[in-house]
């Protein structure tokens, strides 16, 4: 007698894990979305598309926000929506300029909450130096949404003198992270799951990174070869992706990864691996070894990069693996989180 595999039954429907930013999200995009909509701008599947315009290059990106709860320690869905879109543009080398704002509101949302979120959107846009220039508002019936969903799109002009690309990464290059990891995802999870049990000083790191990235690029120039913001999938998602897409070995030293004790504690309580937990105010940079110290110095001079650290190095082992030297000196691999257990953190 053969056994019905749960896999074949599950494959017929979208699961929460398809939205986790891990392997399953990639599968969904590459198998369902990309083939139907393929064109040279989309096919790069970067955080932002590069679009030729008036002899120069514009970057164009979009993101949707479904975070629950709407307000959390360190921020809210509004700050998240502006920061997320600004950061996607900034890590691609653009100067973030214009943002669109689509609000999908559930019947019954308190106006007081909506106002607070709109204030936060305005303040974050001001902080990031961007303007919300167009928008849309829809209201859905009670029970057909969860308070508020936001979609934003953003455009920005490519910064002159910046050359970023996976193809530029080579053996010897250094991986830098701009500060302590895993704070956004864990702050949300703690608020959601353990609010009445655990008092934590942990708050989300959500912040627009345009200013930080500008100052780094001013110092690093072409020696900064690649940047990504480790959102869903976290540090592990970006690190493993860099190794597999460059085909190089990336070796990380666990002891060098900045992480606050409160974060580590929260991860333990919730049974989560901090390496795979989302950040919303961090950037991971690949830089030439000669530029490492200058880049680190300029990061640390900025309030959003004070704890920046060099955490790994690309090596000429052409196996595309990301290996981590653990706190006790053991070696194991870091993989792209498969499907994530944390729905609706951004």
């Amino acid at each position: 007698m053969s056994v019905t595999s749960p896999a074949s039954l599950l494959r017929k429907r979208v699961m929460l894990a398809h939205g986790g930013g891990g392997q399953l999200t990639d599968d969904l995009i590459s198998e369902l979305v990309a083939p139907r909509l393929s064109n040279p701008y989309l096919d790069a599947l970067d955080d932002a598309a590069r679009i030729p315009m008036h002899g120069g290059e514009m970057l164009f990106t979009t993101d949707s926000y479904v975070v629950h709860p709407l307000q959390f320690p360190g921020g809210d869905i509004g700050r998240l929506a502006i920061s997320g879109t600004v950061n996607d543009l900034a890590v691609c080398g653009a100067i973030p300029q214009f943002i669109s704002l689509g609000l999908i509101i559930e019947e019954g949302l308190e106006l007081r909450v909506l106002e607070a979120i709109l204030d936060s959107i305005a303040a974050t846009a001001c902080e990031a130096g961007v303007r919300v220039v167009t928008g849309d508002t829809k209201v859905v019936g009670k029970g057909q949404g969860d308070g508020l969903y936001i979609n934003t799109a953003g455009v920005g002009a490519m910064r002159p003198g910046v050359r970023l690309g996976l193809a530029r990464i080579k053996a010897g290059d250094v991986l830098i992270v701009s500060g302590p990891i895993a704070e956004h995802g864990l702050a949300i999870m703690l608020k959601r799951e353990q609010d009445d049990i655990v008092r934590s000083e942990l708050s989300s790191d959500v912040a627009p990174l345009g200013g930080l990235i500008e100052s780094v690029l001013r110092v690093g120039g072409e020696n900064v070869v690649y940047m990504r913001d480790p959102t869903r999938g976290g540090f592990a998602g970006v690190a493993s992706d860099l190794a597999s897409r460059t085909g190089l070995r990336l070796t990380i030293d666990e002891n060098m990864i900045p992480i606050r004790p409160a974060t580590r504690y929260a991860a333990e309580i919730l049974g989560l691996d901090p390496l795979s937990v989302a950040n919303e105010g961090k950037v991971m940079l690949v830089v030439r070894p000669d530029a490492m110290n200058d880049v680190l110095r300029s990061l640390r001079e900025h309030p959003l990069g004070m704890d920046a650290a060099a955490v790994g190095r690309f090596e000429r082992h052409d196996d595309g693996l990301c290996e981590i030297v653990t706190d006790v000196g053991g070696r194991r691999i870091i993989q792209k989180p498969y499907g994530e257990e944390l729905p609706r953190i951004c």
Binding site: A7, L10, Y338
Partner: protein, 372 residues
């Protein structure tokens, strides 16, 4: 001394101990937490090639027989019963699907984190029959027993348990009785030992002449356990050592053991891969028959049907490592898991998938060289 220096000290001694030794030392851990922590911290990468730490039947979900899953799923399908279960169980598939699948079809399946939570659901919904899937080793059995006693004292008639608790000692004995399985010593489970005490492993030492070391869950403690076992083996000693005295006493937690004894009596139990073993599980005492779902709903266990191609049975008995399975990482992944060792967060396959997936080349080489 920082952790890396301490670890280097251990590995240096281990290397010296086994240098030049032809026959590999096969050590087995029998605890899911040990399995996961060893993989996550890269302990295996620090051990000499002739010392191997093999994962045994330590993951509670993984050792649960297929026929039990079938019975549980069938009970869920009845429609008039609420199934209360720990999270990892809901995705383990039997012949007729998993609890997750029957939940999608409309069955009432609820994930609980404790038996207390299960009792609370039964109290709140007195018109629904609530059945708790009571799986796990000696670690979880006391909580199940406490729930049964509580339900009995409250006269909670809509609460019962479907027991599949397992005892760790009979599994270790069965493995040692199997001529195909070669184990030179055991890293004994931490949590289980807190309950049953280190002296519980005395028979493994005195009857089977295999050294046993009880140790904690940190990478350094695991390596210390490996070192002490190797030291004994190399010196020809056979002793029981407790390296985790801060948590594990010689005779365990008397209160927890008494709870188990009050509600349960050792009985024959069906294990995945190891089959039926006498006195390897816990049957509900007749006095508490009203809380035994097997009797309450007249449930009989059927036959086991392993998913085609799945080698979880070999994996939990240490006869194969996950990357030897042709389903591993392709058909079988943590999200689309075929076997329980990939479903469970304590399962050997899931730990390898996350942390040791790249080792397939080494395993193939060892197979060719006849090391395995």
């Amino acid at each position: 001394m920082n952790p890396r220096e301490l670890m280097r000290m251990y590995t240096r001694e281990l290397n010296d101990l086994v240098a030049g030794r032809a026959a590999p030392l096969n050590l087995m851990e029998v605890c899911g937490t040990h399995t996961v922590n060893a993989c996550r911290s890269g302990v295996h990468s620090l051990m000499p090639e002739n010392v191997r730490l093999i994962s045994g039947p330590g993951c509670p979900v993984c050792v649960t027989a297929q026929r039990y899953i079938d019975a549980l799923v069938a009970l869920g399908r009845r429609g008039d019963v609420t199934i209360l279960t720990y999270g990892d169980m809901i995705r383990v598939a039997g012949a007729g699907g998993s609890l997750e699948i029957v939940r999608g079809e409309g069955a009432d399946v609820r994930v609980v984190t404790s038996t207390l939570e299960g009792l609370e659901i039964a109290r709140r919904e007195p018109n629904r029959q609530c059945v708790f899937a009571a799986v796990g080793f000696e670690t979880t059995a006391p909580a199940t027993a406490a729930a049964v006693l509580q339900a009995a004292s409250e006269g909670l008639r809509n609460f019962s348990i479907l027991p599949a608790h397992k005892l760790v000692l009979p599994a270790m004995r069965t493995l040692l009785n199997d001529p195909e399985v070669k184990i030179d010593g055991f890293v004994c489970p931490g949590h289980v030992s807190v309950i049953i005490g280190s002296e519980a492993y005395r028979p493994i030492v005195s009857e089977y002449h295999k050294p046993c070391v009880v140790t904690g869950f940190e990478a350094l403690q695991i390596m210390q356990g490996v070192l002490h076992l190797s030291r004994q083996i190399v010196r020809g000693e056979t002793r029981l050592e407790n390296l985790y005295p801060e948590a594990v006493s010689a005779h365990g937690n008397a209160h927890a053991v008494a709870l188990i004894d009050r509600v349960f009596v050792p009985g024959t139990s069906a294990w995945r891969a190891l089959g039926e073993m006498p006195e390897s599980g816990l049957d509900v005492r007749d006095e508490f028959a009203a809380f035994d779902a097997f009797r309450k709903f007249d449930i009989r266990l059927g036959e086991d049907h392993e998913p085609r191609g799945c080698i979880c049975g070999k994996v939990i008995t240490g006869r194969a490592v996950p990357v030897e399975c042709r389903l591993f990482g392709t058909v079988c992944t943590p999200v689309y898991a075929v076997g329980p060792c990939m479903v469970s967060s304590e399962g050997t396959c899931q730990a390898w998938f996350k942390y040791r997936r790249h080792e397939s080349h080494r395993v193939e080489r060892e197979a060719k060289e006849g090391v395995r």
